[in-house]
């Protein structure tokens, strides 16, 4: 986002707002601080968080500054259906993980991370593959939020981008540092309630102040026929379809959602996920409507950057007091995601790297774990601030990571249900999918050669079948998943053949899904392995309680194939 000219608020006003926002958040976080913090509570708050906190925290975590801007951009570019094609699929991202989430909690009720379960299921190579992708994704998300904060503060005040980045990073680190996930979840409640209240007020105010509903008639000439069509195929193909492909990948690859899945009380999972789905969808689609209004009004984004649309609409039609509150909404949105990223990162390093690979299970010292978690937060914040200062194209990097996660989706989900999946099948499937993903994503293949174009289009159809099949499987069971997967592949093949390979971002993601699925099934179906899922709950548990226990149920570094062989015999 670029500086659009004279600042809207003074330096003093913005500094006071930031001090008030982060000061109150820090105060709330310190209210729950314990003199002797518990390592498990630091990661998942003891797996018994109630509905109000869990649903608010999940909603807040999923809403970030970029989603608000991107939804408005989608409304501006694709017209009245644009915000739906951004917000609806983003919301369904939360809902689609729910059936898998129930299964995950059933087999590992006291887990902290998905990667931790992968170790109990397969071994350390699968665990580190998943944990590594989670770490990369969380650091990128953290950077993006700091960049968005810096750009926003630079636009609204005379302060520089670097000042903004440092202010946001310091504020988030301060209140998350001591209590980890507990602080993140509690402050999420405060942040999301403020966001929801203000969005509920701001949209109608801008709507009427900008001259709507009359402007729907006077400004209709500003829309192309596609932009005015609620069932626009252009909006679906350019915005909705690539997003659907990313739905399951983000839900599986992003530890922030998994962390809340492990934190909420097991009987409240459904209620929490459904509420967060509706809350996220309404909020993001609602803010996206500002882009639609801007389109009707013929607004040109400042500096040609569509990320300026939301701040522009706010600055144009809101009184100064509400502009200040609007600034705080966006700061709250990006802070709630950034603190979740910090908590997620610290959990992965605490549980997956220190707890299970440096110290052996049962011998991990909870106090050392806490130290490791806190140092992770400090180092991650410093790294994110430095990289944010480089102002790289983070959005492209996020799209890349999101697509990379596509390679993990089938092997991870299959590992929770299918006894035959082996460690070798998991690792080979993911690495093969990555090896095929990269040349497709970066146009290294000569697509003018019919062989490559045909192969990619074939895999695209399989990828569509895998995604829809997994969604149907989650909600309706194995048979429905298989039928949906096969039907979706057969139906989409003639529809996508000959052109889909030209959409490299979408193709690369679909190819990753397809290849990982085919390799995983191909290697597992003949494996003869029969994993007993009941052992996972014994292998994955609390670190604090296990400190004094023997590790009889938790084979430290048992190789997956050895375990599977032992179980078969």
């Amino acid at each position: 986002m670029e500086d659009s000219g004279s600042p809207i608020l003074s330096t003093a006003t913005v500094v006071v707002l930031l001090i008030l926002f982060y000061g109150i958040t820090l105060y709330v976080a310190l209210r729950i601080r314990r003199k002797k913090e518990n390592a498990d509570a630091y990661m998942t708050a003891g797996n018994k968080v109630g509905f109000g906190v869990a649903a608010a925290s999940m909603t807040a975590t999923w809403i970030w500054a970029s989603s608000l801007y991107a939804s408005a951009t989608s409304g501006y570019n694709y017209g009245i259906s644009g915000p739906i094609h951004y917000g609806l699929w983003g919301a369904l991202m939360i809902l689609f993980i729910y059936p898998f989430g129930r299964r995950i909690r059933q087999i590992a009720p006291r887990a902290h991370t998905l990667a931790e379960i992968m170790r109990a299921r397969h071994g350390s190579s699968s665990q580190l593959l998943l944990a590594g992708s989670n770490v990369v994704g969380s650091i990128m998300s953290l950077m993006t939020n700091f960049v968005a904060g810096g750009a926003l503060i630079a636009m609204f005040s005379p302060l520089s981008f670097v000042h903004g980045v440092i202010a946001v990073a310091t504020g988030v680190l301060l209140y998350t540092f001591w209590s980890g996930f507990r602080a993140s979840a509690l402050t999420d409640v405060m942040q999301v309630l403020a966001m929801l209240l203000l969005v509920g007020i701001i949209i109608p105010i801008i709507f009427f102040a900008a001259g709507f509903p009359e402007a729907f008639e006077s400004g209709s000439a500003n829309l192309s026929p596609e932009q005015g069509n609620f069932f626009s195929s252009e909006a679906f193909l350019n915005q909705g379809a690539p997003y659907i492909a990313a739905v399951l990948a983000y839900a599986i690859g992003n530890q922030t959602i998994a962390q809340r899945l492990f934190a909420v009380r097991e009987d409240l999972i459904k209620k929490t996920f459904v509420t967060a789905t509706v809350g996220y969808g309404a909020m993001v689609i609602g803010v996206g409507m500002l882009g639609v209004l801007a389109l009707y009004l013929g607004v040109e984004p400042a500096g040609g950057d569509s990320n300026n649309l939301v701040p522009q609409m706010a600055a144009e039609y809101l009184p100064t007091a509400l502009i200040a509150l609007f600034l705080i909404i966006i700061i709250g949105a990006l802070s709630s995601t950034a603190d979740s990223d910090l908590s997620a990162l610290s959990s992965i390093v605490m549980a997956d790297i220190y707890g299970q690979n440096i110290a052996k299970r049962g011998r991990a010292n909870p106090q050392t774990m806490l130290f490791v978690g806190r140092m992770t937060m400090v180092l991650a914040t410093a790294a994110a601030v430095i990289v944010a200062g480089l102002q790289l194209d983070i959005l492209d990097m996020l799209v890349l990571v999101g697509a990379l996660w596509g390679a993990l989706v089938f092997p991870v989900i299959a590992s929770f249900y299918w006894q035959k999946v082996t460690n070798r099948a998991f690792v080979t499937a993911v690495l093969t999918a990555l090896a095929v993903f990269l040349p497709v994503r970066f146009d290294w293949l000569p697509m003018e050669t019919a062989f490559f174009a045909v192969m990619v289009d074939l895999l695209n159809a399989v990828g569509i079948g895998v995604i829809l099949g997994l969604m149907a499987f989650g909600f309706f069971g194995l048979r429905a998943g298989q039928v949906t997967g096969v039907l979706a592949t057969v139906i989409s093949l003639p529809l996508t053949f000959g052109w889909m390979h030209e959409y490299t971002v979408l193709s690369a993601s679909l190819v990753a899904y397809a290849v990982s699925t085919l390799v995983c099934i191909g290697m597992s179906v003949r494996s003869g392995a029969s994993f007993d899922f009941s052992v996972i709950s014994r292998r994955v548990g609390d670190f604090d309680e296990r400190r004094s226990e023997t590790d009889q149920d938790a084979p430290d570094d048992a190789d997956a194939d050895d375990r599977e062989t032992a179980e078969r015999s």
């Binding site: 109630g50 309630l193 709507f212 509706v278």
Partner: protein
């Protein structure tokens, strides 16, 4: 007619947002009361 539908389409989202907010407030108060009743912290 189209104007009315578009108005409803834009303004329905803030209504849903406020409904979710009230649900979350209700849920949070219930969590807080339960924690107090059991003599523990909220998180």
């Amino acid at each position: 007619m189209e104007t009315i539908l578009l108005t409803l389409y834009v303004l329905v989202w803030p209504v849903i947002v406020l409904a979710v907010m009230s649900l979350l407030v209700k849920g949070f108060v219930a969590d807080w009361r339960e924690a107090r009743r059991e003599g523990r912290t909220l998180l």
